[in-house]
């Protein structure tokens, strides 16, 4: 992980200001709720979401709307989940290290 290329909008005030605890590759973080998993990864500076199964190239979400399948991560033990389609939730475990085919 590196310093995030993204930051929260200045003066952002949300109706749901809460954060929730997630585990990213086993390490605990607090992220704002209502974010997608893919957005939370960018927020935390995790710019790589998966390793390409053939070329071993690092990859990351391209579209953030469910069509590119580049942000596949393991969520709560379920492999190959599109991070952009799942909102973060309390105690969610996210693993970017590839375990399955993709």
């Amino acid at each position: 992980m590196t310093a995030s290329a993204f930051s929260r909008l200045h003066q952002h005030q949300t109706s749901k200001p809460d954060t929730c605890r997630i585990l990213l590759n086993g390490i605990e973080h607090q992220v704002p709720v209502a974010m997608s998993v893919a957005a939370a990864l960018l927020y935390l500076g995790q710019h790589v979401t998966r390793t390409h199964p053939v070329s071993r190239q690092p990859r990351a979400g391209l579209c953030h709307m469910g069509v590119c399948f580049e942000c596949l991560v393991t969520i709560n033990g379920q492999q190959n989940q599109r991070g952009c389609m799942r909102p973060v939730s309390s105690n969610m475990s996210i693993i970017t290290t590839p375990q399955g085919l993709s």
């Binding site: 290329a5 993204f6 930051s7 929260r8 909008l9 200045h10 003066q11 952002h12 005030q13 949300t14 109706s15 749901k16 704002p32 209502a34 974010m35 997608s36 957005a39 939370a40 960018l42 927020y43 710019h47 790589v48 979401t49 390409h52 053939v54 070329s55 190239q57 690092p58 990859r59 990351a60 979400g61 391209l62 579209c63 953030h64 709307m65 469910g66 069509v67 590119c68 399948f69 580049e70 596949l72 379920q78 190959n80 952009c84 389609m85 909102p87 993709s102």
Partner: protein
């Protein structure tokens, strides 16, 4: 006993919401399945929970989604968010729609369907677009709308209204735009001139567009007629190389957002064998429709950008018109006023599509972007380069579906969504055939991934 819906709407964007409001108030039993956590589609994403700072940055057009969303949430229809439709097939009483909801596959039955699942961004296969740090402009806007995330610094590249709008919104949010690389070919401006008359029928939008375009040219390092974009970097993007007006440039950047317009998502209609045709102006495959979004398959309609790309306002009108046509078929005699409204809506839709002709021509994709070369990846999922595709196409493969079998392009997790169009362009170029003759990639379920356990446990509603 399986519950049978009168009208199943896929997608809760402007088209789907408008259709559900109209049909449910007329007494039809309506179900809306939407893949997102909240209704609104891409254009009005998160409009129900946005904050003042987001609304200020996103501008007044975004706020237009609020009354529509409120009317939708109050409408007497069933609505299932986070529902991923993975299969649709004919059923004795209409259609079965299988959706994955909370890890379970549920089969819904409906007599009639409205496909309103919108559009996606036209893939922009430039060298290095597979690197982390490269996203689409739409993704940038989604992060702003849904998560109030903005980049610290960015390079924007491509063409189209969304790219200019995002530049404007980012500047309002204090983002450093290192460069805006406009790939719109000069010839497009000449081609669009006769269509100025169409644009003039919507003077407010035309003025806004011209202003958006001019203001970026003044406020942002702006390069026109850009070609040969290459994104370079060790792991992620570190710089972007390009040519503009015959000169080579290299701009350091950690983030590049690409955009070259949007194309309809036709996969769902394709599984139902709805007829498609190539739209040479919009440069995309499009579901063939007759009045009120009726596809070639009885009982299946399409509305909004899932049909002919037109934007949020048109989508809303098309959704409403499609629902009115569906209500008509229940046999209830509609009032004189309703009939007049129907005709007026249909006329307005025609007019708005005509006005859209200007944008469609001005922002046609640059030919060099449709036919990538060399090591540029066309299929990101299966790692197939443009040179490999061209080789196979030149050796005489019959079309994109045979190309898929030979190269694996289109067989990965995205199921050809990111490579399908470019495969077609490359085959057309290599074999000297028009795009209309090169069929699109065939679509087979599942439309989105489902595992065997989920399949085995699928249940009827």
């Amino acid at each position: 006993m399986t519950q049978i819906y009168d009208y199943l709407v896929v997608g809760a964007g402007p088209a789907g919401m408008a259709a559900a409001i109209e049909a449910s108030h007329a007494g039809l039993k309506v179900l809306v399945l939407d893949q997102a956590a909240a209704a609104g589609g891409q254009i009005f994403r998160n409009v129900g929970h946005s904050c003042a700072a987001q609304e200020q940055v996103l501008g007044p057009d975004y706020g237009l989604g609020k009354p529509l969303l409120q009317a939708f949430m109050a409408a007497p229809c069933d609505y299932r968010p986070l529902a991923q439709v993975w299969n649709i097939e004919p059923h004795a009483q209409g259609f079965t729609v299988a959706a994955l909801i909370d890890g379970l596959s549920i089969n819904f039955v409906a007599s009639d369907l409205l496909i309103a699942n919108g559009a996606m961004e036209r893939p922009m296969a430039v060298s290095g677009w597979e690197k982390p740090g490269v996203m689409t402009a739409g993704a940038g806007q989604i992060l702003l709308k849904a998560s109030a995330l903005v980049p610290k610094q960015v390079v924007l590249a491509g063409s189209g209204p969304l790219l200019l709008l995002l530049a404007h919104q980012y500047r309002a949010a204090g983002v450093t735009i290192t460069a805006l690389l406009d790939t719109t070919p000069r010839s497009n401006y000449w081609r669009a001139i006769p269509w100025l008359i169409a644009g003039l029928s919507m003077p407010k939008q035309l003025l806004k567009g011209v202003w958006l375009s001019l203001v970026q040219r003044i406020r942002v390092p702006y390069f026109t007629n850009v070609a040969d974009i290459k994104i370079v970097g060790h792991i992620g993007a570190e710089a972007v190389r390009f040519t503009a007006a015959g000169k080579d440039y290299e701009v350091p950047t950690q983030l590049v957002l690409l955009h070259q317009g949007i194309v309809a998502q036709t996969q769902m209609a394709q599984t139902l064998a709805c007829e498609l045709s190539w739209n040479p102006v919009k440069q995309c495959w499009q579901i063939q429709t007759t009045g009120a979004g009726q596809t070639s398959v009885p009982g299946v309609q399409v509305a909004g950008d899932a049909g002919a790309i037109g934007g949020a306002q048109l989508a809303q009108l098309e959704g409403r018109l499609a629902a009115m046509a569906r209500i008509e078929r229940t046999g209830t005699r509609s009032s004189w006023a309703k009939k007049m409204l129907y005709q007026a809506l249909a006329l307005r839709i025609c007019q708005l599509h005509w006005a859209r002709g200007l944008v469609d021509r001005l922002y046609q994709p640059a030919p060099w972007l449709s036919t990538p070369t060399g090591t540029t990846l066309v299929c990101r999922c299966e790692q197939v380069s443009a040179a490999q595709i061209t080789d196979i196409a030149q050796s005489g493969c019959a079309g994109v579906n045979q190309l898929k079998a030979f190269s694996r392009a289109g067989m990965g997790p995205c199921q050809g969504r990111q490579c399908g169009l470019n495969l077609g362009y490359l085959v057309a170029q290599a074999q000297g055939r028009p795009m209309a003759q090169v069929q699109p990639l065939s679509v087979r379920p599942p439309l989105s991934p489902i595992n065997l356990g989920q399949l085995a446990q699928s249940s009827d509603l």
